[in-house]
């Protein structure tokens, strides 16, 4: 089964500028079922001689039955694209775009609260289920391997790191989910943990957190109450000094709870196996699964 994306995925890509086109080509080459492309002024053309272009998301959904959307549009237009995809009724919307103003995400989250769409991102690497050749995002497909470990992470490149370590230790992935590094983001650790727990193809879970916010604590609480599968966690930023902004907005320590040591403590208390260093994620999971 995997989670979020699989053989049922019918993907709509929005925003095919330079980077968007590059990523969309790789997504298509990997084998993802891409059914529609949306970019202003290209209605009637085809992306890679294959995927029809539309001017409007609703129109594209009507005509292709797309159920999943990915957004590559520039940050100033990302909020509008998310709302357009939500309004068009897509079940899953993945916003890759980096640099979306926080207040825009605040508004988006309030807007979609009672709507059926699930949003991942913004500023995330997206989702990839290796067993189904289903990639909705920018996770490099050459590093993944089908298997039974679910990966969920706030950080992009650290997701790749975790995947590589798993593969290095002989373990594949059910689904890899990058939930995004912005302080306000759609799908949270807890949401993904719930999906992994219910997924028959997932046997264990890697959770990669970082400093800032208290989402890892919420995840720990959820794990304690609802997750029976083994969870290995790593928290990046143990050496980060308080108050310094470490590259993206999510990674800023704003209080004691936001510190790596606090997060690690809470996760350990919830029965989570801690990878003491981000270099030891694969080894720890190998140890846990025996």
């Amino acid at each position: 089964m995997a989670i979020l994306v699989d053989s049922e995925t019918r993907l709509l890509v929005q925003g095919l500028g330079r980077d968007g086109s590059f990523q969309a080509s790789r997504t298509l080459a990997y084998g993802t079922n891409m059914v529609a492309a949306v970019h202003p002024g290209r209605n009637g053309q085809k992306f890679e001689n294959n995927v029809p272009f539309f001017s409007q998301v609703a129109d594209a959904v009507d005509q292709t039955g797309a159920n999943t959307g990915i957004i590559f549009v520039p940050a100033p237009f990302a909020m509008d694209a998310i709302i357009e995809q939500v309004d068009a009724g897509l079940e899953l919307v993945v916003c890759i775009t980096e640099g979306v103003p926080v207040i825009d995400m605040v508004k988006v989250m309030a807007y979609i609260k009672d709507k059926p769409t699930r949003l991942i991102g913004s500023n995330c690497p997206g989702v990839l289920s290796p067993g189904y050749k289903a990639k909705v995002g920018i996770i490099p497909s050459n590093i993944v391997k089908p298997g039974n470990v679910g990966v969920v992470s706030r950080s992009g490149t650290l997701t790749y790191e975790a995947i590589a370590q798993l593969v290095q230790h002989g373990m594949g992935q059910s689904t890899c989910v990058g939930i995004g590094g912005d302080p306000v983001h759609g799908t949270t650790f807890t949401d993904v943990l719930e999906l992994f727990e219910a997924d028959k193809e997932t046997e264990a879970i890697v959770l990669i957190g970082e400093i800032g916010g208290t989402r890892e604590q919420l995840a720990a609480d959820y794990i304690k109450k609802h997750i029976n599968k083994p969870v290995v966690a790593a928290i990046a930023g143990q050496s980060a000094p308080a108050g310094k902004r470490m590259g993206h907005a999510g990674a800023i320590i704003t209080g004691k709870a936001a510190m790596a040591s606090e997060k690690i403590k809470t996760l350990a208390e919830a029965g989570v196996h801690i990878a003491e260093s981000p270099a030891l994620i694969g080894a720890k999971m190998k140890e846990v699964l025996g």
Partner: protein, 392 residues
Amino acid sequence: MNIHEYQAKEIFEKFGVPTPNSGVASTAEEAIEIADRIGGRVVVKAQVHAGGRGKAGGVKLVESSKQAGQLTEELIGTHLVTNQTGPTGVPIEKVMIAETLDIKDELYLSIVIDGDLGAPVVMASSEGGMDIEEVAATTPEKIFRVIADPLIGLSPYHARDLAIALEVPSESIRATTKLIIDLYKVFIENDCSLVEVNPLVVTKDNAIVALDAKINLEDDALFRHPELANLIDPNQLDPLEQRAYKSDLAYVKLSGGRVGCMVNGAGLAMATMDITKNAGADPANFLDIGGSANQERIEEAFKIIVDDTDVEIVLVNLFAGIARSDVVAAGIVAAAAETAAKMPLVVSMRGTNAKEGIEILTDSDLDITVVTDLAGAADVLQQKLLELERSN
């Protein structure tokens, strides 16, 4: 993005927030003129991007315009070192000359977005003039907070609730309520990441005045505010940070370390710093080249890292998704050729075109140790640091 107090004050005034009578001076003459206009007894405040100005001698009360001029002359052109700056401090190029008020009470007010709640939060405290983190730690019951609705905004009754909680005089409740509503407008309409007033004062005649004005602008939203983007003062940045800013690179200087870190991605940046620390050394800086840097930016990135005199060894940790490893490698080799610094490099390079990148590095005459993963990087780094210590 930080802006100066006097710039934040101008924004406050535009939104109707009461502030003290003041002016900005960069010479003694200007300072005297402003102080004379205000009436002699004034506060002189160094305009720098750093907190802790008061304890560091950057905020002083003077009794005459003459003294204001003298103090201004003393301050301008020097560097102010506070507990929030590095040891070299930040340059003082302007001072604010402000009227003094008869203060009855000092309060605290700030607005930020709480990521976990997904909403703006207005925080207030009856303990103004103090470090708010300290108040939060010692007397949390003196901090009041209301959550604004993300779409409706801050309801006036919420602002009034705060005014009541702050126990301002009853005749000042209306003005305090209005001030909080206006500050919320400042926050939203300028896409701020922080609006802070510390202290917000109640004067002897029960007026409410923002004695201080602090605004941080959200970098990601500056495209909506070109006029605000112009307020940047690059001189307040460390010279290397200035260079990184110009090349749109995320560079952070850290104190006490020896390892320069070049990475892609914030999570990997932190992980890299963590393994650096695990290896027994502290990072001197880290520089995130981001997703799609070209060779010129890589060259500049590498130069910024090695131009940091604290750096004795460089750790490159790349997991290329959008970025191309060969481009990064070529950039490093080109930059290293141009710099005098011949220090050891520990390199982990994976993802897109990693093989080609590693070849370029190993073919160069740099002192390079290639590793294949994070764990390996930690081991080699530890070993290299030991070697460095032995050779010292």
